[in-house]
């Protein structure tokens, strides 16, 4: 029997001595400096070390990795043979600059039950997350699942937020993370060596030492465990805050409606409903809020025994947003509101000795303008323009729009918007209002009708209200998508299933798929309808 020769020391079980550190990063975020600090730390400690960085290869904001290997004892006779590639399942420390990047390397198998993971939990959204019309952000819960499943110890801290709170720039996250790693004890290296390394590398030394200490203390004081608990605002404060913003004349009347929610609706819904009531009272008047609550009531009656009230919640959110659709009047009000300029000043971190001008990019199209006029007057004209004869006489190739760039922070620039706000009281008689309202009614009725058929189906329809968004063409397109979703997808499928049995699984499943298609691309509804036609054809055959 041949055994491993004893004169060659093959340290099969002493793997821990070689340190392997993987740094996943977003290109252009200072990962190179972070890597350099660590290399210097190891050199100061007298380790053998090799750093491999792929700077620039990530090409502007793509994913990139840095990789360090280090060996504590220097044997000058025989140097360590380092690997230039990290090996899945064989990494001791993962130090991640951003949360999604952590997720990506963990999904590739780099983490294991012997890995210490130190990661910032802030997100830099990738292009693919920015494109869908509904939520395309990757689930944070999933990322946490990965981090917990493939680590021995997971230290997650929002380094960007911590940097901001301490008045430091974005790039300070690197030193904060280094501090967090140092304090985690994964490396057994003194604080002094880290500080010396930061000084030696010489990039933003003062700031980075400050940031390092912040990261170090944050982990030492165990704060990263606390940061997960978020405190919600109290109901009374919630009410008070909104009341103060509301016009005094409207307050008393609205109070009755708020009282009604407190009495008749469960606690989980009251903030949403109250937010909606305030919003609509501000948008139009209290009569409008009351109208809203009446619609909610109809749906809530079907939802009383569900337990989590998902149907009412989704319906309440979407209906409130829909009823406060953004027309010229609404935009004008928001644009010249003095609160807006306070917010801008704060967001842009402006000091008192700086002045600023705000210029807006407004480009309403024709319908957004005439939509504000009385329905009685506009409706016949629109009907006329839609006739074939009219379109033959005046074929409009180019869309009519009214581009303008008013300086809304100036008196002159805000005048015309102020003038527009005066149309507010006539809004309920406008052409646009009638148009929005007819589809809104269809929405309410559909939610009610489908909920009676099947609760989950009702929820799907209630949820689908969130695809209606945007201005001008975008809004007309999304409204059209919604209309077709009801008429060409949910309706025929549910009718089909009603006949064949009691389950609406197919409708719900296909409805979800359709919503995903609509969310992902502008012609999603066409693809969805095609899909449904195929499904129905197949079923019919």
């Amino acid at each position: 029997m041949r055994e491993i020769p004893q004169n060659i020391k093959i340290d099969m079980d002493k793997k821990n001595e070689l340190l392997k550190i993987l740094i996943p990063a977003v290109g252009g975020q200072g990962g190179g400096v972070l890597t350099e600090w660590l290399i210097q730390v190891f050199l100061i400690e007298g380790f053998e070390v090799q750093g491999v960085g792929l700077p620039g290869l990530s090409q502007r904001g793509g994913s990139t990795v840095y990789y360090i290997e280090s060996y504590p004892k220097v044997n000058s006779e025989k140097p360590i043979i380092f690997s230039q590639y990290p090996l899945p399942g064989d990494i001791d420390i993962i130090l991640a600059q951003e949360f999604l990047e952590l997720g990506r390397v963990l999904e590739l198998g780099y983490g294991s039950d012997k890995t210490t993971v130190v990661s910032s939990t802030h997100r830099i959204y990738s292009t693919l997350e920015k494109l869908p019309i509904t939520r395309g952000i990757y689930s944070e819960e999933n990322l946490r699942k990965l981090a917990n499943a493939f680590s021995d110890k997971f230290i997650g801290l929002n380094a960007l937020e911590i940097a901001k709170q301490n008045g430091l720039g974005e790039l300070a996250i690197n030193a904060i993370l280094l501090g967090a790693l140092g304090a985690s004890g994964a490396l057994n290296i003194d604080e002094a060596s880290y500080l010396k390394a930061i000084s030696q590398v010489g990039v933003g030394v003062e700031t980075n030492i400050k940031a390092f200490r912040i990261g170090w203390d944050y982990v030492k004081s165990n704060k990263y465990n606390l940061s997960l608990i978020e405190s919600g605002t109290k109901w009374d404060e919630f009410k008070k805050e909104r009341f103060e913003k509301l016009h005094p004349d409207k307050r008393e009347e609205l109070l009755y409606l708020i009282f009604e929610i407190e009495q008749e609706y469960p606690d989980v819904l009251r903030e949403i409903l109250a937010e909606a009531l305030f919003r609509l009272a501000d948008y139009q008047d209290v009569w409008y809020s009351k109208k809203y609550l009446d619609s909610i009531n109809k749906i809530y009656r079907l939802d009383r025994n569900s337990g989590d009230f998902m149907l009412t919640e989704m319906f309440a959110k979407n209906l409130a947003l829909w009823m406060s659709y953004e027309d010229g009047i609404r935009v004008a009000e928001l644009k010249i509101n003095p609160e807006r300029f306070k917010r801008i000043k704060k967001e842009m971190l402006l000091r008192d000795n700086q002045l600023f001008h705000v210029t807006d990019y407004l480009n309403p199209d024709a319908e957004e303008i005439y939509g504000l006029l009385p329905n009685l007057f506009v409706s016949p004209i629109v009907k006329l323009t839609e006739t074939r004869l009219f379109q033959k006489i005046w074929p409009r190739k180019k869309k009519i729009t009214f581009p303008q760039n008013p300086t809304t922070s100036s008196f002159i620039g805000s005048l015309r918007l102020w003038f527009l706000t005066k149309f507010k009281r006539f809004r309920p008689y406008s052409y646009r209002f009638k148009k929005e309202y007819s589809l809104m009614n269809k929405y309410s009725q559909s939610v009610e009708r489908f909920s009676r058929m099947d609760y989950e189906l009702g929820c799907l329809v209630a949820k689908s209200g969130n695809i209606i968004k945007g201005y001008g063409d975008v809004r007309r397109r999304t409204m059209d998508s919604f209309n077709r979703l009801l008429d060409n997808i949910i309706n025929p499928l549910s009718e089909f299933e009603k006949k064949s049995g009691n389950s609406f699984d197919l409708t719900i499943d296909t409805g979800e798929k359709s919503l995903k298609l609509i969310s992902d691309s502008t012609d999603g509804i066409d693809k969805a309808v095609e899909l449904v036609n195929k499904v129905l054809e197949r079923k019919a055959a």
Binding site: I8, Y85, T134, Y138, E275, A320, V474
Partner: protein
């Protein structure tokens, strides 16, 4: 270009015998050049060798110039390769570098130089990016060197070793008259570590000590009747000489082991992966002591048959771990074994992956298979089995934990990038004109093929995007639009694409993105920069060159004026004949910002009036339809949660990193999207007039504000 290497770092280049240098691979290679007494250097930037150009460019003024070393800012890889001609008849050492695909551009020059052979050591550093970290095609350099008869050095992933091999390479080249190709893989090109220095050698011939007399040796000129003689010399003189030098100087290494019946043959960088793989299987230690003997080829061409025979002799079985296809090393070894009638089993690509980088995890399974065939004891078998399967199983476990896989992050154009707005304009025009055939080329703008733009029907490089659409310009219903950067224009675009298009009266639109830098490689000067890499002024004009080539339809646009760009593009779309060239001029924002940052902070500090621009999105006006994202792709235009608890979906948001180019606002206008965007002009150190104006405005505005609040 901002210096990549600090003064202190570059000072290490003067270190003498025994001192320790700390730095990255490019710096170590440059030091090895100086230790070899090179007279001239050149190259065309491209990852993973772009860092080498940085090092040479940064070191030119403080170090190289004083030594009289010529540094060539090569126009493309062909001119870089041509530089090596200086070594043909003269005892001059020199080196050129480029990335793997550049070898194709350089091939004409290399063929001629290889035929003549070299007198002075000539070395080409080829950045091989087989894992495609920054290259669009996967390709190996070895087959290329074989067909042109060049020696190939493929070093282990160890900086000291790399430095030694550079020095050995020059000796090998001079001894054998072969030009030497030195392979630098992506990872080995980016190592940071310490190395021991030697004294620099002063170049024999230099700008300070020029050639007294030019040698004209007719026999060195590739022209009949000498051409046939060159071919004979290659195989009868140069290759045998190289083999002799390689084996006399032990350039290849044997890592001996106890188990003489087995062996593994590998090469260069792959050795590091192999050792790690064996270590994890329990077959070697970290210092490279191994149970099974390893023969590592640091020179992969020519192979020395005697060395191979010596290693194979008396063995039962050998595994060849060779990265890439075609597997020329394996085929050569098999033929040597067959010719020598050695009776042993040879394994290679039959149990290892055919394609792809040989990372430790990619080869572990194959190595396990080899070891298992010859393992004897049960515990040994069990250990190898278990460990060789571990990585695959672990990877699978990780990949399957979640139902929804983690979203990918593709690279994006920078904040404020002047190249991006043209793609926005084309995207907006798609609504009216439908999709065109987009023939893209190599540069940052290749990213226009990725979301959100998706504007690439093809990418063919370099400088040949437009030419690649030659046939389709006449045979497709769609119009042809091609993109080309200024670097690409001067690299070869002018000759290969533009003069060809004019000559053939190609009906196409060419958008030249002139941003004055070769940005993709990390900001290198190009002829459009107004300065070369030695920081000497040059003046080369794209428009004049186009006119000279006979292009009639030329329009210039300011990329940030979206409206004008759309107008000009529309005009081009409607002109259905000949070549239409639109030059979009705007300096690379990264480079511009680097310069402006200093001026801005200086002005603010000294109390001068300064207006800064930022863009914003009103969170209560934005409905979150995110149409703006589909036309933009700016990194600072991102998402945030809506301030209203009624809106579950995120809304658009502009981060503080905004540089105020205003494109997002222009898009909202041009594509008629929404009124959410606004521009803020921040006045630092306002003048008296500013302040009076603000006071007056405030007084009037007060009236409106009160009214709005009471509405």
């Amino acid at each position: 270009m901002g210096s990549t290497y600090s003064k202190e770092t570059l000072e290490q280049l003067e270190f003498g015998e025994g001192k320790t240098l700390y730095g990255d691979t490019p710096l170590v290679i440059l030091k090895a050049f100086l230790q070899s007494g090179v007279s001239y250097l050149g190259g065309y930037p491209g990852s993973p060798t772009a860092g080498l150009i940085d090092a040479m460019s940064d070191a030119y003024d403080p170090v190289l110039k004083d030594k009289g070393i010529y540094f060539d800012c090569s126009g493309n890889e062909a001119s870089a390769a041509a530089l090596l001609s200086a070594s043909i008849s003269h005892p001059i050492r020199g080196s050129a570098n480029w990335k793997i695909v550049g070898t194709n551009v350089a091939s004409d020059a290399l063929t001629h130089i290889s035929a003549s052979g070299v007198t002075g050591g000539a070395m080409i550093i080829v950045g091989e990016d087989y894992g495609c970290d920054s290259t669009l095609v996967a390709e190996k350099a070895l087959p290329f060197a074989l067909k042109s008869t060049m020696a190939v050095i493929d070093p282990r992933g160890d900086l000291q070793h790399i430095a030694n091999m550079v020095e050995a390479g020059f000796e090998l080249s001079e001894y054998s008259n072969l030009p030497v190709m030195f392979i630098l893989s992506t990872r080995t090109a980016h190592i940071r570590n310490k190395t021991r220095c030697k004294d620099n050698i002063e170049p024999k011939i230099s700008m300070l000590n020029p050639l007294k007399e030019i040698v004209s040796d007719l026999e060195k000129i590739p022209m009949p009747p000498y051409s046939v003689e060159h071919e004979r010399k290659k195989f009868h003189e140069r290759i045998p000489a190289a083999r002799k030098y390689i084996s006399n100087n032990n350039l290849n290494e044997i890592f001996d082991g106890e188990d003489k019946g087995l062996g593994i043959i590998t090469h260069g960088t792959v050795y590091n992966s192999l050792n790690r793989s064996l270590y994890n299987l329990g077959e070697a230690n970290l210092q490279g002591e191994t149970r099974i003997p390893i023969f590592n080829l640091n020179v992969t061409h020519p192979i020395v048959p005697e060395e191979i025979i010596n290693f194979l002799d008396g063995k039962k079985a050998v595994l060849i771990v060779e990265e890439g296809m075609p597997n020329l090393i394996e085929e050569q070894i098999r033929s040597i074994a067959q010719r020598t009638k050695l009776n042993l089993d040879i394994f290679g690509k039959d149990i290892l992956p055919q394609a792809g980088e040989y990372t430790p995890d990619n080869i572990t399974k194959g190595i396990g298979t080899f070891l298992l065939s010859y393992a004897i004891s049960f515990p040994e078998k069990q250990r190898i089995q278990e460990r060789s399967e571990f990585v695959e199983k672990h990877k699978e476990k990780a990949a399957n934990l979640l139902k929804e896989s983690v979203t990918k992050r593709n690279p994006v154009f920078c904040t404020g990038c002047p190249e991006r707005p043209i793609f926005t304009a084309i995207k907006i025009l798609e609504e009216d004109y439908g999709k065109s055939y987009y023939a893209s080329d190599i540069g940052c703008y290749s990213m226009s093929g990725l979301p959100p733009f998706d504007l690439s029907s093809s990418i063919t490089g370099m400088g040949i995007g437009l030419a690649s659409a030659g046939a389709l310009s006449r045979m497709a219903n769609q119009r042809v639009i091609s993109f080309m950067g200024d670097g690409t224009f001067w690299h070869s675009g002018l000759t290969t694409s533009i003069s060809h298009a004019v000559y053939n009266n190609q009906n196409a639109i060419l958008v030249i993105l002139e941003n004055f830098w070769t940005s993709m490689t990390g900001h290198h000067e190009n002829p459009a920069s107004g300065m070369n890499m030695r920081q000497e002024r040059v003046s080369m004009d794209i428009e004049k060159a186009l006119k000279g080539a006979g292009v009639k339809w030329i329009k210039k646009v300011d990329p940030y004026d979206l409206k004008d760009s759309i107008k000009v593009l529309r005009k081009a779309y409607q002109t259905d004949e000949g070549l239409k060239v639109i030059i979009s001029r705007g300096e690379c924002q990264l480079e511009k910002n680097r310069k402006e940052r200093v001026v801005t902070s200086e002005k603010i500090k000294t109390g001068k009036r300064l207006v800064q621009t930022k863009l914003g999105v009103d969170p209560d006006v934005c409905t979150g339809d995110l149409s703006c994202m589909r036309y933009n792709g700016c990194p600072s235009l991102t998402l945030k949660e809506s301030p209203s608890i009624l809106r579950d979906d995120p809304i658009a948001h502009i981060e503080q990193s905004c540089v105020g180019c205003g494109l997002c606002g222009e898009i909202a206008h041009a594509a008629v999207l929404c009124p959410s965007f606004y521009k803020v002009e921040i006045i630092n150190n306002p003048s008296l007039i500013d302040r009076i104006e603000a006071k007056l405005n405030g007084a009037f505005l007060h009236f409106i504000s009160n009214d709005v609040l009471n509405n």
